[in-house]
Amino acid sequence: MAMFGARVIWGTKMRPSFRMLSFVICLTLGRAHGQTLGIASSAPVTSIDPHYHTFAPNDSFGAHVYERLVTRNAAGDMIPALAVSWKVRDDRTWEFTLRDVKFHDGTPFTAEDVAYTLNRVPRVKNSPASFSIYTKAVTGTEIVDPHTILLHTAGPYPLLPNDLGNIFIIPHTLGPDPATEDFNSGKNAIGTGPYRFVSYNPGDRIEMERSDDYWGPKPYWKHVSYRIISNDASRTAALLAGDVGIIEFVPPTDLPALRKDSRVTLSEVVSNRSIYLWLDHAHDGPSPLVTGPNGEVLARNPLKDLRVRQALSLAINRQAIVDRVMENAAIPTGQYLRPGSYSYVPDLPPTPYQPDRAKALLAEAGFPKGLRVTINGPNDRYVNDAKIIQAVAQMWQRIGVRTTVEAMPWNTYVARAGKLEFSIFLLGWGVGSGEGLNPLRAQLATWNPARGLGTANRGRYSNPAVDALIDQAMGTMDDGAREKIIQKAMKLAMDDVPVIELHLQKNIWATRKGLEYEPRVDEATLAMGVRESK
């Protein structure tokens, strides 16, 4: 029942008497200032089990309690965490040297915990989205000594550190097959991270407390209240009311007002999540939702013609979408990665806005009177998703492409997109690994279930030259040499317009005045990154 003192949430507006009272209580408890940080998360954390569900909010919370071998800094670069260093022993063996630290329950962290975690990940029961996609490359583990472990792979696999950057390590003392429920209750929620788990109230909040024997820099906040406020307007209001210190995914509609609001500080960074239009490459005959200018069925799929794809891309004024629809919470792009990333292609700028050239290209391709198309998109998935396709549709009208817009809820949309029912459809792709092989392998490689390639290639784009370069890059362990190959493959693919890239979203956080957040490329909202500004 300690309402006013011990649980002072930063920035909470209190009447003077309460403020005085809390000040006194803080002094008696030996605290220098308000020590609870309220974080408003936009989506619910679905489990405390770090290996149950590959879901961004779960990872964002998990990074407080658990740690990975390798992690990423705010800029998205890989940095050591539980592994002090790692190196390639030979083409099929990686050596990781581990840090000498302790879990929250006092047991020391050793190579055995790494082996245990890698073994547990694929065995989590009922997981709807398993982390085993990041551990399947490891075919065997070999403990050399308590702080050295060898990881074997079937063939050369340069992306192993990137993959392991998704796996939180848990102690082997949890025993065989620990249950997800025991994590949610807190019994198994033991990591090496900067915060200890205190309590989880599903759909409402997670409470955490600083772990004082954390090996890294001491976190600034003693308590963290990680709250779930999925309604955009309510999240903004919670910040303005001072109930939380920081909110994530600031809705673009609130941006113009918040930029002027003196109670709030914004921090933003361009992310690796691009929004683009998939084009139908699957149908050689008529494409489902593309017809001739008078609605007549076409014998061939016009989207298979490079000139048509280029024309559609040239007709889009990306800057206008960014300015008007996205309220500047994005930048125009011509590729999946943000500038400055490993394997970003410098000579692949956003496609310029040239409607006249677009018209000429359409005529050259045999469609001087244009086409009729339908753009499909979700209306509850990406920032302003439905508005973006409306804007694109209007731009296409101007080059004579009569465009219909059909937006629908994600749960219906994703099922229909999977059945190749659409011709032109909006999607987003966040490059988790922060390098170009990820979109190349998942999106642009030929759909190949046997090899696990082209898994997200929803337009069924296929280019043997690109496939060959992808294979070459996968076998190249040297980072510098691999980067060159990836850039070559990406340039080759994107010049062929497999998808029409529109923009890269910005990740935007808002904090109370007096606080600042180091904006993260990976969208995670971490209490460790929130500080009082100087």
Partner: protein, 327 residues
Amino acid sequence: MIAWSIRRLVQACFVVLAMTVIVFVGVHVIGNPVDILISPEADQAERARIISNLGLDQPLWRQYGYFLYDALHGDLGRSFVFNEPALKLIAQRMPATLELAVTAVLFAMFLGVPLGLYAGLKPDGFLGRAIMAGSILGFSLPSFWVGLMLIMVFAVQLGWLPSTGRGQTETLFGVPWSFLTVDGLRHMLMPAVNLALFNISLVLRLTRAGVRETLPMDFVKFARAKGLSPARVIFVHVLKNIMIPVVTVLGLELGSTIAFIAFAVVTESVFAWPGMGKLIIDSINVLDRPVIVAYLMMIVLLFVAINLVVDILYMLLDPRVRLERKS
């Protein structure tokens, strides 16, 4: 009478069965939960493995068969999203929704009745007219807008109340309740008012109409002529007579506030209140079938039970109904 009740129970079972079939077919037609939940980076083999792990690769009739078998053994399945039993998830969220709904109905009673009484006694006064005008707003303003305005005024501008969330809870009978702590009550005030607004208007109008109807009646005139104090006339004789419809409506509203997510879900979402309404909407968005089925089964059972009780009461109260059945 007993035979008739049993017949009603059997009918109820068929309603529940029909509802589960509709949910199974409906979710199946919309899409596959795995497509929504799975990591976009997962490959085709991984997708197939997960679908088969969750039993979604089976033909629909077989999935339904398994569900029926488990349901008869008291297991309504585990949520795909949370990996917890669906019933446990619903039970976890139920106290939050219950206390909000009950508080809202209490508000409706303790604000609606006095306001309606006043408006009924002084129908031509300025305040009486203002109350009636206000009740029109209570009916017609969309509750998400009112909710946001409440937050903007009382949390952001004035800073009197916390903007969102459930606040501190205290355990009673093993269930966490927030009405037992000051912090919890402060969190509950705005969502409860927002949820109550419609009901307050409704009760207020009912009360006013009742008062206007009752005042000119003979027994009121007689009570006055007998020399009873005006307070006694109003609070004992008038109020007692108009409370019957008000109580009936309040009871119905309590049921529908809990059961129909339409009201509660908007309020729960605007105030980030971790109740059942938010759970069911989130579950529908990701096609979390076990939770949808369990929730709807609970609602159907609740309504069937209410209807059953009402019918039985009706028969006990009204001899004509009994006679009709016999003939």
